[in-house]
Symmetry: C2
Subunit: 151 residues, 2 copies
């Protein structure tokens, strides 16, 4: 077992389990007080962050370990839990990119972070262009459909 | 504290702590046997994966909690540990994109994964185009330099 301690917490107007429309959501990431504000120094030079967080609204009993229809939609193929980004996944880890609006001390104001209020943050990373996928991205049609209203 | 259990392990020819030249490295991700192979069904439809792993070669005593020069290079500015992607970070979590070469049962053959041999994998996600950063990416000059030989 690996023990991790949250480094920050998300404060967001989003408290429900709605899946879509994250693009305009403005939220904050509050760095834990055990860290000096210096742990964020220089982050303003980046336009985007990559946030690793716990999907804490999911109960462990809800975790899927084999395959399911994304969003339980029978029109989409049944795919493995590691071949989709559903929240009911082992370890319940979310990873996503968001825009950094501004920093105020230990607080990061961000736009488009798909994490509900109270989500424990496991890591904050600056997004660097070169860390994007190398080469053309290919994905199945169901993924295009799932994502069409996400942001 | 949050307890996580690795879902897979990385097998890689890279065993040292060298920072660069990851682009051509071919490695495998071996799904833990507690999962049925079905947990990966459909993953072949994606060209790229997003892997969350533990930077297990870092000792907890090496973790930086405030600010440091990236790669200890005094020519680059001293920036907070959450404003850089150095491995010596709280929770020691790595996140990166790699190319999926092929799948064989519980094994994923990947290219360009910057994880050393033996790295515990915390999550495997398919990369979807829409999860990339929205809007233009801005980053400081030191980040361009750090990344120039990374892949």
């Amino acid at each position: 077992m690996i023990e991790l301690q949250p480094v920050a917490i998300v404060r967001s107007p989003r408290t429900d389990r709605r899946d879509d429309d994250w693009g305009a959501v403005e939220s904050t990431i509050e760095l834990d007080e055990r860290f000096a504000p210096q742990a964020l120094d220089g982050i303003e030079a980046f336009s985007h962050l990559e946030i690793v967080f716990l999907l804490h609204a999911i109960n462990e009993s809800e975790v899927e370990t084999t395959a399911r229809h994304p969003r339980n939609n029978p029109e989409w193929p049944k795919v493995g839990i590691f071949a989709q980004r559903g929240a009911r996944r082992p370890n319940r880890i979310g990873v996503s990119r968001c825009e950094l609006v501004r920093r105020e001390g230990r607080t990061l104001v961000v736009r488009g972070l798909d994490a509900n209020d109270g989500s424990p943050v496991l890591d904050i990373k600056p997004y660097m262009r070169e860390f994007g996928p190398r080469g053309d991205v290919r994905q199945p049609p169901w993924a295009d459909e799932v994502m069409s209203r996400y942001y």
